[in-house]
Symmetry: C2
Subunit: 361 residues, 2 copies
DNA sequence: ACAGTTTGTCGGCCTTTCCGACAAACCAT
DNA sequence: ATGGTTTGTCGGAAAGGCCGACAAACTGT
C-alpha cells in the first residue's frame, strides 16, 4: 500500500488495503445523528430503501419471478466502518442474517444506550470561499480551536503550534496553527493549501475535526451534496430514531451497484446471510431500521393532517434542531410490486416554506 | 512507525521499526569500495579497531583484568544492513562467532566474487551551494540523468517527467525532472527543496541515486564529514581489499558506545557470539577484516621506505583512483595493553602533499 | 592548447502564501 | 436595538521557487 503526499504532511500507520477505521472518527464524519445498529441487534431490511440507496435514477432490476419481501427482519452479524479510498466518504459494510420474529430481541435497547456514550468531541465547519480558494489559509472557529485542537501557548507572540491530524486512512496531515490578526483569530496556514488540493475540497464541503480519548486529532471530510454549492443551506440528515428525511438535490455517483441490491434482496428473501453497504451521507432514507423503531412506527395510524416533527443536525454538529410539518398525504409507493409494504411515502408540508420532502414510514 | 512528509512526496512500504534495507542501496550509500564479509566467511575481529570506531576521543574502558586478544578469528553468522532513522546513515549489524583456526575456510573467495556481481548502477553527487541553498533546484549531472533516471521523453518541449525515488526507509520522494535552459541541462525542481529541508542537507553532503534491477529509483545520503564543509576535497575512503586509510578530520557523533565495544571484546575473548555495529562511512579503519587478507598482509615484512599504494573512490563513485605513498615508520600502537598486536600503524608519506595518514597493518 | 560540452551561480520574474485591515455577521443582553 | 465578539474577504507584501543568461570548469583531442 501507499502513503502518498505532495506538498503536505502525511503519515501512515499500516500498509494494508481498504481497512476499517476508528468507529469514532467514522461517526464524526457520518454526522451526530447516524446511529449504527450494534452487532447482535435486530433490524428490518428494506429492499426498496436499499435500491434507492443504490441508484441515481436507474431502477434496480429485481428478478421478476422471485418472491421478495418488502421488509425482512435480520440480526446484525457485523458492522465494518470504512472510508472510500478516493473521496474519504465514510460508509459501513453491514452483515445481516435473516431472523425469525420469535428469536430473542435481547439487548437492542441496552446496546443503543451504550453506543450513545463516550462520543468524543468533534467539530464540523463548511468551507468558505476564503478557506477553499484564497491564499492557503483556513479560518478556525474559536470553539473548534479551543475545544478540539491541542492547547495553544498564548504566551508566545504570536502564539503558534504545529497541529497533526490523522485522516480516515491513517495518513497524518501537518498544519501550522497560529493565533494572530486584529482582531485575533485562529488560522491554519502552512499545510492547509495542500490538504485542500489533495483532498480536492471546494467551498461548500465540510471538514470535521475530532479529538480522540488519547488526545490525538483526526480530520474527516463531508463533501457537499452535488447540484449547487450555494443554494439554501438545508441538507438532508438522519432522523432521531423514528423518522427520516430525504434531501431533494442529490444525484451522487455510484456507490452501491444495482446488482448488489438485487443479490442482497434475494439472499434476504431466501433467509441467507448477506452484506449491504450503507452510505450515511447519501441523502436517502435508512434501509436497515431498528426492529423496535419499525414496530413503534407501525402502530401509529398515519393520516393527513397529523403534525410531524423531524430532527436534523446543524452544520457544525454542535446542536440538533427540528423541522415541524404536517402530513399532507399517505400513499403506498408501489402497490403492485411491493404489496403491503410499510415503505409508505408520507408527503409532508413543512412549516418553513421549502421543497416538498418525502419522508419514510 | 511513521512516514513523515512535509511539502514533499513520501510513501512508505511497511510500518515496522528499524528494519533492514535493500543491500544494494546500502552498498550504494556505503560507497563502492565497502565490501561486507558474506555470512559463513571468516574475519579477524580487532577490538582496537572497534574501539576507534566507537570513540570520538573518549577511550574505551577495557576491563583491566580481562584477558583480551588483539585479534580474534570469527565466523560471520549474519549481516543486517540498516540505516539510521534520523540521519539516513547506513550501518551494518554483524553477528560474529569466534572460531578456531582449524575450522573450514570454505567459501571465502567464492562468496567474495559472488558479492562483486550484479552491482546496480548508482551515481553520487556532492551538493553545490546552488543545489543546497538556492531556489530549490538540483543540477543533475548528465550521466546520472541518462543512466540512472527513468528515460525522459525528449520530444516534449520542454522534456519533463516526475521521478519517484525511495529512500533508505522506504519513503518515496517525488521530484520534477526537467531538461531545459541554454545550454540544456537536467534539473530537479519541484520536490527537491523539501527533500533538502527534511533531510537537512547542506552544501558538501552527497546524494546517491541508484537504479534497482526492476527499474525503481532509490536515493541515499552521505553526509559530509564534519569539521569544515569547504576544505580540500580528499575524503577518507576504504581500501581495495588489503589496506586502510583514515581521514584526519572526523569527530563524528556517537554511533557505537564504548560499553558495547568492551562487551564485544569480552565475549570475543571468551569465545561467545557477539554483535558489532559497523559504520562504513565513519572514517575509521575496518575492524572486521577477511581472514585471508589479514594473513596475506601479515606475511609482508613492512619496513620504512616501502612504496605504498592505496585505492580510494572518486566523488561520483564512478571510478577508483589510487594514492601512492611511502612507508615512513612502523610502530606498534600500544605495546603494553596489546602485546604482539598486528594493529600497527604504518606512517605513510603521500606523494600528494597532504595530511599525514595513518594506515592500518 | 583548443574547442566543445557540461554545470555552477546569478538576477529577474512569476506564483504562492502569509499578514493585518476592515467590515459583515453573529451573539448576548 | 445595541455593543461586543467572531470571522469572511481583501489587497499589500514577503517568500519561495522556476527560468534563461552567462561564464567557469571540465573533457577529449
Amino acid at each position: 500500500m501507499i502513503t502518498f503526499v505532495d506538498s503536505a504532511a502525511g503519515e501512515r500507520e499500516r500498509g494494508d488495503g481498504p481497512r476499517c477505521l476508528d468507529p469514532q472518527l467514522w461517526h464524526a464524519c457520518a454526522g451526530g445523528m447516524v446511529q449504527m445498529p450494534p452487532p447482535g441487534s435486530r433490524v428490518y431490511y428494506f429492499p426498496q430503501g436499499h435500491a434507492e440507496h443504490a441508484q441515481g435514477q436507474a431502477a434496480v432490476d429485481f428478478p421478476p419471478g422471485a418472491r421478495l419481501q418488502a421488509l425482512v427482519l435480520c440480526r446484525v452479524a457485523a458492522v465494518r466502518f470504512m472510508a472510500d479510498p478516493d473521496t474519504d466518504e465514510v460508509f459501513a459494510k453491514i452483515r445481516l442474517v435473516p431472523a425469525r420474529p420469535q428469536d430473542a430481541d435481547a439487548n437492542d435497547a441496552i446496546a443503543a444506550a451504550a453506543a450513545q456514550e463516550d462520543k468524543p468531541a468533534s467539530f464540523a465547519k463548511t468551507l468558505t470561499q476564503s478557506d477553499a480558494n484564497n491564499g492557503g489559509g483556513f479560518s478556525v472557529p474559536r470553539y473548534c480551536a479551543e475545544t478540539i485542537f491541542p492547547r495553544l501557548d498564548y504566551s508566545a507572540d504570536p502564539p503558534v503550534q504545529t497541529v497533526l491530524a490523522k485522516d480516515v486512512h491513517g495518513v497524518v496531515w501537518k498544519f501550522r496553527h497560529i493565533y494572530r490578526g486584529t482582531p485575533r483569530r485562529h488560522l491554519l496556514t502552512t499545510g492547509w493549501s495542500s490538504f485542500v488540493n489533495q483532498k480536492k475540497l471546494v467551498a461548500g464541503d465540510s471538514i470535521v475535526f475530532m479529538r480522540t480519548e488519547n488526545g490525538d486529532l483526526c480530520v474527516g471530510i463531508r463533501r457537499a451534496k452535488k447540484g449547487g454549492i450555494g443554494g439554501p443551506e438545508l441538507l438532508g440528515e438522519e432522523d432521531g430514531g423514528n423518522n427520516k428525511m430525504m434531501g431533494a438535490r442529490g444525484k451522487a455517483r455510484v456507490r452501491v451497484r444495482p446488482e448488489e441490491v438485487a443479490e442482497a434482496a434475494n439472499l434476504a428473501a431466501s433467509g441467507q446471510p448477506f452484506d449491504v453497504l450503507y452510505y450515511p451521507r447519501a441523502s436517502t432514507p435508512e434501509f436497515c431500521v431498528r426492529a423496535a423503531a419499525v414496530r413503534a412506527a407501525m402502530r401509529t395510524q398515519w393520516c393527513p393532517g397529523m403534525r410531524f416533527k423531524m430532527a436534523f443536525e446543524t452544520e457544525d454538529s454542535s446542536r440538533i434542531s427540528w423541522f415541524m410539518g404536517t402530513v399532507s398525504a399517505v400513499q403506498v409507493a408501489d402497490p403492485i410490486r411491493w404489496p403491503n409494504s410499510p415503505w409508505r411515502l408520507l408527503q409532508v408540508t413543512w412549516d418553513e416554506p421549502d421543497l416538498l420532502q418525502n419522508v419514510k414510514r
